[in-house]
């Protein structure tokens, strides 16, 4: 390449680095700000006055928030478990069965919650559940389901299932079908193939789907607002009602704790997954070498 071309390439590289830096700064400035100002010794949340830990100690006695956190963790755990199961089933249905009655409708329904505004999902699910509750009350005298943890879980599950399907489906599409076929040819039953061959290979995707749906549920405001009942206020609802009223230093402290935990969790999980991936690649390479020698 000629000299001006080289100059353009160098400029490109510098511009590229600059753009990436700018983008990451945009993504991370608010997060860094939240963390730093959680140590701010000033009742005005955005004016710095010195270091303190008082917002953290105040959290320990914040009943409303702690109750919300307990509920949120329960709902998030239940959501993540059920989302992975339903998402895996849906992902299998979509990758393994090319043709079945109403496949287009099914694919549409699976993907729709990803983009559908949450206000619509929340409103429609709530109104259906209210109709159901009124109908059961009229017929049996007992209204079911009562608004609360169960209904929040149902809403989060709708969203979680959609995300879990995307994650698991992406992994299933890259699987080598010959491995399963070989197991079948060697006499394994379908469920044996699933437990012994397929599941270990998609395990990583299931873990990421679990973590993703857990955090989604832990973070959701709109669905919870529609579907929660009296006495079932999740942590994001508590935070949202405080943030609506104005700035609140306790929110920064909660944010810092969540951000730290998530960062540690995600970084640790990705290290473990990367190590497993490497090990598997090595094993595959070793297995491929053997027949040749």
């Amino acid at each position: 390449m000629s000299r001006p071309g080289f100059g353009a390439a160098a400029f490109n590289r510098a511009f590229g680095r600059g753009w990436l830096l700018f983008g990451f700064a945009f993504l991370y400035v608010p997060i860094v700000f939240l963390v730093v100002y959680s140590f701010n010794d000033s009742p005005i949340a955005n004016v710095w006055r010195g270091f303190t830990l008082k917002w953290y100690t105040a959290l320990a006695s914040d009943r409303e928030l702690l109750a919300g956190l307990a509920l949120s963790l329960k709902v998030a755990f239940a959501t993540a478990c059920a989302s992975v199961v339903l998402g895996t089933l849906a992902a299998f249905a979509l990758t393994r069965y090319r043709r079945f009655f109403g496949r287009t409708l099914f694919a549409g329904m699976v993907a729709a919650p990803l983009v559908m505004p949450e206000v619509i999902i929340g409103l429609s699910l709530l109104l259906m559940l209210v109709s159901l509750q009124r109908a059961t009350e009229a017929w049996f005298g007992v209204g079911f389901p009562e608004r609360g943890m169960l209904t929040i879980w149902l809403g989060h599950l709708l969203l979680g299932m959609a995300y879990a399907t995307v994650v698991v489906r992406a992994r299933l599409q890259t699987l080598n079908p010959q491995l399963e076929e070989a197991a079948m040819d060697l006499g394994a039953r379908p469920w044996q193939v699933f437990w012994l061959i397929t599941l270990p290979m998609i395990g990583q995707a299931l873990v990421s789907a679990f973590l993703l749906t857990f955090t989604l549920s832990l973070d959701d405001v709109v669905l919870s607002a529609f579907l929660s009942g009296p006495g079932s206020t999740t942590m994001p609802l508590v935070i949202f009602s405080r943030a609506r009223l104005g700035l609140n230093p306790s929110v920064n402290a909660v944010a810092t704790i969540i951000i730290t935990l998530v960062a540690i969790g995600v970084v640790a999980a990705s290290f473990v997954l990367a190590r497993n991936e490497r090990r598997r690649a090595q094993e595959m390479a070793a297995a491929n070498r053997k027949p040749a020698t």
Partner: protein, 305 residues
């Protein structure tokens, strides 16, 4: 026997998630559509089909839809939502496309780490990140001070994005900034996976045929990444139209968006049929056309490949 088993397994794998989505996703929409044309008596909703004096009486009430069409407030709210969502999508594309491009062309060994850095904010609470912007942009906030120090607020005021210098919060500016910030990863990720898969030999071929890097970018890279652009734009545009939390926290009372209208009709006015009519209109006017368009785009792309 084996075929029988296989069919049973197939029925379970397809049937369980299908039935689930049918009951908890599709059926609720039908309920909403029904309520949107029903009358409401204090807290109960009148059935649209009634047994009256030995005859079946249908009563459909389209008053809510008429009101939506006639009342200029609803109409302008719809238009404003579409406008804010469109501007947000364009901004995400303007920031996200070069970002994804340079990410996909970065050193291979660096790419997983870059990808994780894009995903990480997505894992941390969205609500808290939006809240952070509120603190940054209110008076005396760090970013507000920085913007005022360089005089950028005068430019924004001149552009009509904020009512006057020094007023950054609760404006179209803060709203669009918050939405762009929140949805940027949704634009970057599909674009990145698309651009990372691109065959770089095509660029070499273009350069061998005499194209400059700039021409090759516009004539080869951008057209090839169209599927990524469409996917990213859809992931940003549709949720933005119905966004509630961001306008509530950053938009202030002046920037009314349709998601908030739905929320207020439901929670403040307790007018369920109206909230349902707003939801149905949003689905029919915004979501269905955009989804059909993106599907059509994907098909065109497939046929070309």
């Amino acid at each position: 026997m084996k075929l029988h088993r296989w069919l049973a397994g197939r029925a379970a794998v397809i049937g369980i998630p299908y039935a689930w989505l049918f009951v908890f996703f599709l059926l609720p929409f039908l309920v909403v559509a029904r309520i949107s044309v029903s009358e409401m008596k204090t807290t109960t909703i009148k059935d649209i089909v009634e047994w009256k004096d030995g005859a079946i009486a249908f009563s459909l009430r389209f008053g809510n839809y008429l009101l939506l069409a006639e009342d200029s407030l609803y109409f302008s709210t719809y238009v404003a939502s579409l406008k804010y969502a469109a501007v947000t999508t364009l901004l995400c594309l303007a920031i996200g496309y070069p970002f994804a491009y340079f990410m996909a062309r970065a050193r291979r060994s660096l790419q997983p780490a870059l990808l994780m850095l894009v995903m990480l904010p997505f894992w941390t609470s969205f609500l808290l990140r939006v809240y952070a912007w509120k603190a940054l942009l209110t008076e005396q906030g760090l970013l507000a001070n920085a913007i005022e120090a360089v005089g950028l607020d005068h430019l924004l005021a001149a552009l009509g994005l904020i009512p006057g210098p020094g007023q950054l919060m609760n404006t179209p500016f803060s709203l669009v900034l918050g939405m762009t910030y929140t949805y940027l990863p949704f634009m970057i990720l599909p674009l990145y996976s698309n651009l990372a898969k691109m065959d770089l030999r095509l660029l070499e071929a273009a350069s061998d045929l005499g194209a400059t890097a700039w021409t090759a970018f516009w004539k080869v890279t951008v057209p090839l990444s169209r599927a990524g652009i469409v996917a990213g734009a859809m992931l940003v545009f549709i949720p933005c139209v119905g966004e509630y939390v961001i306008p509530e926290l950053l938009g202030g009372p002046q920037t009314q968006m349709i998601g908030r209208t739905l929320w207020d009709e439901f929670f403040s006015n307790n007018d369920w049929p109206m909230a349902c009519a707003v939801a149905v209109t949003m689905v029919l006017l915004v979501i269905v056309p955009v989804a059909v368009f993106s599907r059509y785009q994907a098909e065109v792309q497939e046929r070309r490949a």
